[in-house]
Symmetry: C2
Subunit: 139 residues, 2 copies
């Protein structure tokens, strides 16, 4: 899954490309919207230590390869991204969709000149109920 772009990101950030970090990134790519602990549980079966998963998430998040967002339950959940992305989250089933479209840059520019902040990024999570849950609940 776009391994070359992924590898470039590792190199650019001075991150070593270890099998564990790749596994962590892939875990969030396959099932987006999970918590660190959930992924740590799964990867433990592959012999990857939980401390390693926590460390890998910090490193990948810092490199912009994972995106964290606050779930309505007050947890931080992550999505694997390559470059910039936002998430669309179902409040019922927790399904997560990555969105590549972004129109916030304009807003950021205006905000930068208005507030004097040197702006360096943002996270956007949009919540709703997915079509399947709507149907199941007859809404």
């Amino acid at each position: 899954m776009h391994s070359s772009a992924l590898y470039e990101q590792f190199a650019e950030r001075g991150l070593r490309r270890t099998p564990q970090r790749l596994a962590v990134w892939r875990a969030f790519a396959e099932k987006p919207g999970r918590t660190i602990r959930q992924v740590a549980g799964d990867l433990a079966e592959e012999g990857i230590g939980q401390a390693t998963v926590y460390r890998a998430v910090r490193a990948l998040e810092g490199a912009g390869l994972l995106l964290g967002y606050a779930s309505p339950r007050g947890e931080v959940r992550y999505v694997a991204v390559l470059g910039h992305a936002h998430v669309l989250v179902c409040r019922r089933c927790g399904e997560v969709t990555s969105l590549q479209e972004c129109q916030i840059e304009d807003y950021e520019r205006r905000l930068q000149s208005k507030t004097g902040y040197q702006i360096s990024g943002h996270t956007l999570a949009i919540y709703g109920i997915c079509p399947r849950c709507l149907q199941e609940e007859g809404l």
Copy 2:
């Protein structure tokens, strides 16, 4: 601080207006961008139990009176809001500014028709370095 609007929100959501919940909301209003545990620590000195703070945050968040966002450190931090708001966060000192302006509604409408989601809200956190930190670091 807009107590009437706050009280209306409580009533609309069927939340009881207890001194503890008001204290929790005010704590986040006075110092935005803190974690639950930080506020629980402070309010413990006023005799408010930590479990109560955790419960109050869930209730207030559900009522749309607190906004949670994922900090770059992987924690969930909260801002007191009345109605809709976003946050501007300094990556250095953690200073948080609430932003009332929002242009995401249009985007949400298009997304709703495109994905079939029944969209019901979003969180936007914009990160950067505040003017004071920029100056202190000579950037």
